[in-house]
């Protein structure tokens, strides 16, 4: 799996856009909206390689923070200019409201691409990049408010271990969110989806990234991944409560959610 992603890292984003016709962006936006983070949240994004979730999280938190500040300013209509100025200074240094995201990935190349993207897009504060294995996270217990893994869990050899680790590093009250390809139950759509996956995606892989094999592997790994209910059961086994899932696009993708209580 490591070698697959080493060769895939640089063209990862281009391939994602081509394969999903840009829809993956909508899925990721949806995930962060569902998360609905408030400023001060500490997020761990596992297998977050090129930073897609992390950047969306930062954007979301920033806009929530801005609205917070606006509301505060409206309330303080009678302040002197001096007080307004001080308030403004203090809040400017805190545009994220102490929110932080840690991006953890097992693959150095993916992290490298992510860091470059962050620089390019102007993301600097509240972001850290850590090399690590989802089955054995380099973090202490009870640390994070939210744990996300977007399109990463199907590449983990021992999903149960990854879920256990997720449980361990979350604070009590913390939330587990998983965005992943899942099962399409509608028979007609399933046939079309299979056709597209097996006929078109490896071709795209060859033409865009010069790598048929990695994308063939990708498509096959999606088929072998546990369907919605099974994954829900696995998450419950790890100790999470209120486990639920939501299908996107008829089950092509699903978001599973659980809480550590």
């Amino acid at each position: 799996v490591y070698q697959v992603f080493e060769s895939v890292a640089k063209k990862y984003d281009v391939m994602n856009d081509s394969m999903t016709l840009g829809i993956h962006r909508v899925w990721k936006d949806f995930l962060v909206h569902k998360m609905n983070p408030c400023p001060g949240t500490l997020l761990l994004d596992v297998a977050g390689g090129t930073g897609d979730i992390a950047f969306r999280f930062i954007n979301y938190v920033r806009s929530v923070r801005e609205r917070q500040l606006q509301r505060k300013l409206k309330q303080h209509q009678n302040l002197s200019w001096q007080e307004i100025f001080e308030n403004y200074q203090e809040d400017k240094c805190n545009s994220l409201g102490d929110s932080q995201v840690v991006v953890c990935d097992i693959n150095r190349e993916m992290l490298k691409v992510g860091k470059q993207k962050a620089q390019h897009l102007g993301y600097s504060e509240g972001l850290s990049w850590v090399l690590g294995n989802a089955e054995e996270l380099p973090f202490d217990d009870d640390k994070f408010d939210v744990y996300t893994i977007a399109f990463g869990i199907r590449n983990v050899t021992r999903i149960d271990l990854a879920l256990q680790e997720a449980y361990r590093v979350l604070k009590p009250g913390g939330r587990f969110l998983c965005l992943e390809f899942s099962h399409v139950s509608n028979p007609l759509l399933s046939r079309l989806y299979d056709l597209y996956s097996f006929q078109v995606i490896p071709v795209l892989g060859e033409v865009i990234a010069g790598d048929w094999r990695s994308y063939q592997y990708l498509v096959e790994s999606i088929r072998q991944f546990p369907p919605q209910e099974e994954l829900k059961a696995m998450i419950e086994d790890a100790g999470f409560f209120k486990v639920d899932y939501e299908n996107l696009n008829f089950g092509i993708v699903a978001i599973h959610s659980g809480f550590k209580l």
Partner: protein, 236 residues
């Protein structure tokens, strides 16, 4: 592990190492995609190779039959020689007299800074013998340059493509010959159109099949004599 499972499954359908079996739909998509990508990004030589493989279903059997019916070509099909740095004795070739095939070939490689090892192995040809034919065609390409006296710049490549198009009938060569000149300056286009292409076409038509020559056994032969034997007219 999952990756091993995938490999084992494929081995059942794999006809040669590196072979990726493809459905007709996939071949069609690959042909279209590689054609587009080859034009969009000229550095994607792998796309040119893929285009050749996916569109060669008529031309390749043709070439293979030409080889089968020729004594030297037949021997090549049997013995399957490969032109690689590891199989070539470069120092010996360099020591050959000027004007000999071996000496000029090595000179060509050094002057243009190319190596025979950069040729892509075939992936999408669904016949093991035809896969060898296309591999042979790729490895002999540099020898074509030597015999035609053409360098590896855009102009030289286009000229060789015209020659190969006439010789092999591979759609990829035809497309390359037709679209290659798009990126040339007006002056070069003129030289191309008035002198080089007509010569390449005439030579290509006149010459016997270039894949039927066992080059590895002819290193000592003078280039001019080999040209005459095959039927390539002297370059302008």
């Amino acid at each position: 592990e999952e990756e091993e499972e995938v490999e084992e499954e494929e081995l059942w359908h794999q006809l040669y190492p590196g072979h990726i079996p493809t459905s007709p739909l996939q071949k069609a998509l690959l042909a279209a995609g590689s054609a587009f990508m080859a034009l969009y990004d000229p550095y994607r030589h792998d796309m040119v190779a893929v285009l050749g493989e996916t569109t060669g279903c008529l031309a390749l059997p043709n070439l293979r039959d030409k080889m089968k019916h020729h004594p030297e070509g037949y021997r090549i099909l049997q013995e399957r020689p490969r032109i690689r740095l590891s199989t070539l004795d470069m120092s010996r070739l360099r020591g050959l007299p000027d004007g000999s095939l071996g000496r000029e070939y090595v000179r060509f490689l050094e002057v243009n800074k190319v190596s025979p090892d950069t040729r892509m192995p075939p992936k999408f040809v669904d016949d093991e013998e035809l896969a060898y034919v296309i591999q042979r065609y790729r490895e002999v390409h540099d020898l074509m340059h030597t015999l035609l006296g053409m360098p590896t710049n855009m102009l030289g490549e286009v000229v060789v493509k015209w020659f190969e198009a006439v010789q092999t009938g591979l759609p990829m060569c035809v497309l390359g010959a037709a679209f290659g000149p798009v990126r040339l300056s007006a002056r070069k286009l003129q030289v191309l159109a008035t002198e080089l292409v007509p010569w390449a076409i005439r030579s290509g038509l006149n010459a016997s099949c270039v894949l039927n020559v066992y080059y590895e056994q002819r290193w000592e032969q003078p280039v001019e004599s080999l040209r005459e034997e095959i039927g390539i007219f002297p370059p302008p």
